[in-house]
């Protein structure tokens, strides 16, 4: 029981943490509350399905292609729909919702709303401490931790990562320092697309692929990001793992009430926010406290 909770919580938390990182990056740098973000994750899963099941391409090739196409799609939708009306926050909000509806309905039109599965990248299962665990689950946990480490190294050690952090800190000053702000925004959106594609690669074989699969991760991602403090990548990751383990606990300790897992994790978020309104790692000025 406890092993199942740990492994499932780690899988769930890993996926949400990848998505939460991409979401916080776009929110911090491009200042866009992108509600269409998990729709890219859904599109990436469907691309995997198309390439692996319908066209029988080799696994590794289709994984790489789907990640690249997702990144291009994310950048294209940012360039076409969001870039020029960034100042109007409300318009951005509904354009991202409209994009989500668009992706969902196009996918339903072509694939209908039935559940589909794809084969895992690493097959088989292994036994750890007497518990049988799918190799894909271990792969998922390891890759999610690896991705977070790479993103952290990229942001803190490379020149471009520093430039992205500078834009997130202060747009005008970053512009004065000779950083091309709009290009940095594009690159960040591209990275977020890559992260959405990666999340799909690691978790799509473990769950059903269907055109409503954006909704549940969206709520979890928003919840994790808020729990950790908006625009704070570390906080988002911690929040994601808290949520993942909570949901796994609810599912395995009370199997009868597993449909309540969303409600329970959101209630935990509410309680934490009542105690710390700025999230676990958020920063707030004392005189601005309400």
């Amino acid at each position: 029981m406890i092993e199942m909770i740990i492994i499932n919580g780690a899988v769930m938390g890993g996926v949400i943490s990848i998505l939460a990182t991409g979401f916080s990056l776009v929110f911090g740098v491009a200042k866009i509350l992108n509600l269409a973000y998990t729709a890219f994750y859904m599109v990436a899963s469907f691309l995997l399905y198309i390439m692996i099941i319908m066209y029988k391409l080799p696994l590794s090739l289709s994984f790489v292609t789907s990640i690249i196409i997702t990144a291009i799609l994310a950048m294209a939708s940012y360039k076409i729909c969001l870039d020029r009306i960034k100042e109007h926050e409300s318009a951005v909000l509904i354009i991202t919702v409209a994009l989500t509806i668009l992706f969902q309905e196009i996918l339903i039109l072509f694939f209908s709303a039935i559940n589909r599965t794809i084969p895992p990248l690493v097959g088989g299962s292994s036994e750890i401490l007497g518990v049988a665990i799918l190799n894909q689950q271990i792969f998922c946990v390891v890759v999610s931790i690896g991705i977070i480490a790479i993103i952290w190294l990229f942001l803190s050690k490379t020149k471009m990562g520093n430039a992205i952090m500078a834009v997130a800190e202060d747009r005008e000053v970053a512009n004065l320092m000779g950083i091309n702000v709009s290009r940095m925004c594009m690159i960040t959106v591209g990275i977020s697309g890559v992260l959405a594609g990666l999340a799909a690669v690691v978790v799509a074989p473990l769950q059903m692929i269907q055109p409503y699969m954006w909704m549940y991760p969206l709520v979890s991602v928003l919840c994790a990001v808020i729990l950790g403090g908006l625009g704070n990548i570390k906080g988002g990751i911690v929040g994601a793992y808290i949520l993942g383990f909570t949901e796994a606990c609810v599912v395995f300790l009370f199997p009868k009430f597993s449909f309540l897992r969303g409600a329970v994790s959101l209630s935990i978020m509410l309680i934490i926010l009542l105690i710390r309104p700025e999230g676990l790692f958020g920063i707030i000025f004392e005189e601005e406290r309400l």
Partner: protein, 362 residues
């Protein structure tokens, strides 16, 4: 005062307050249109669609009152709608109360739910508030499924009595409630009113809450008030919805249902009260007519999404503000609204269409 003088004064009032301002003329024509529709057509489906449109207009306007005017962006407004709908339909299905009683009790309980939601909202702002409010419909969805005996669970609650036996009478009741609700919220948020100061205080809270507190405004009290009124009207909309389609299900607690008033309001212009009404009356019947013309559900939603994206790219402030800027001009000197075709203000006779450097001199 003689009758003739009285009629003349009414005529003059209409002339100054309504006929001189194109936006108000359009509003008047729109209300008149709503009242004469049952005389023009006996098509039951059209009347039903218009009733639903009016209900959603109340819903969208209540979202605009809370989020557009007070700036408390609420992504889970569906929860108030659902509380109103569920309470009204439970009272109607289990206790067989009359619709008048169920609607008033339902909307009051929705308003109390609004007060409960305000408790976390008091300490949060901006995106934190929006994402916390998004969680309420999902938590309530879990509660509805957990108490399936009383709420009907996944299927929904059947056996709600219709508002009245005749569709046309129900339509008139709904139109009147819609007009009253919209007018109430419009007057309540009127910045220039001499009697109600709430409008300008709510506006101040939206612009800068810290400064509003520093100016001696008890923002806590006003936030409670705004949430109370907004959720009250959302509850009325929910109860009317339950009595119109005679069933209420957990679909009202889905994430997409809470996004709908946001789509309508921002399409029609946020923060204007008349914007959401226009948005609902443009988008909801359009979707229904697409269905009559034979588009399947998915094609309809694709057209809807593409239309939203195109409109927002060219009118990022919404349709009504775009139209208003085309037909009305505000006098630079006395701040009164004039029709676009005039070259001099109707009140102060000042020039209306000034170039930029001229208006800076004024």
């Amino acid at each position: 005062m003689s009758t003739r003088a009285y009629v003349y004064s009414v005529y003059q009032w209409l002339n100054v307050k309504i006929f001189a301002i194109p936006g108000r003329v359009i509003a008047l024509l729109f209300f008149a249109f709503l009242f004469i529709v049952p005389f023009i057509t006996a098509n039951k489906y059209l009347i039903y669609t218009l009733s639903m449109t009016c209900i959603f207009a109340i819903f969208a306007t209540s979202w605009d009152f809370l989020s557009g005017y007070c700036g408390q962006i609420n992504l889970g407004h569906g929860v108030f709608f659902a509380v109103g709908g569920y309470i009204a339909s439970m009272l109607s299905a289990h206790f067989h109360l009359s619709p008048w009683l169920t609607i008033s009790i339902g909307s009051l309980i929705a308003a109390i739910a609004g007060l409960i939601v305000t408790l976390p909202a008091l300490r949060l702002r901006g995106f934190y508030l929006s994402l916390v409010t998004l969680s309420f419909p999902i938590i309530s969805h879990g509660i509805v499924l957990a108490f399936a005996d009383y709420t009907g669970g996944e299927v929904g609650l059947y056996g709600v009595s219709p508002l009245t036996t005749s569709g046309t009478t129900s339509y008139y009741i709904i139109v009147l409630i819609m007009l009253f609700s919209v007018f109430f919220m419009y007057k309540f948020t009127d910045l220039e009113s001499k009697f109600i100061r709430v409008g300008i205080i709510i506006y101040a809270i939206r612009e800068d809450e810290i400064t509003a507190r520093a100016s001696g405004i008890n923002t806590t009290r006003y936030k409670f008030l705004v949430f109370f009124i907004s959720s009250f009207f959302a509850g009325i909309a929910g109860a009317l919805y339950a009595h119109t389609i005679t069933v209420v299900g957990p679909s009202t607690l889905e994430v997409m249902f809470s996004f709908q008033p946001i789509l309508w309001t921002i399409f029609g212009s946020i923060g204007t009260i008349y914007g959401p009404v226009a948005g609902v009356f443009l988008l909801y019947p359009f979707m229904e007519f697409l269905q009559i013309w034979g588009a399947t559900e998915h094609i309809r939603y694709i057209i809807f999404a593409l239309m939203l994206i195109c409109f927002m790219l060219f009118m990022p402030e919404g349709v009504t503000i775009w139209v208003r800027d085309k037909i009305e001009v505000t006098c630079q000197r006395c701040k009164k609204i004039n029709i676009m075709t005039r070259s001099y203000c109707r009140i102060c006779n000042g020039p209306l269409h000034l170039r930029k450097e001229e208006s800076e001199d004024l």
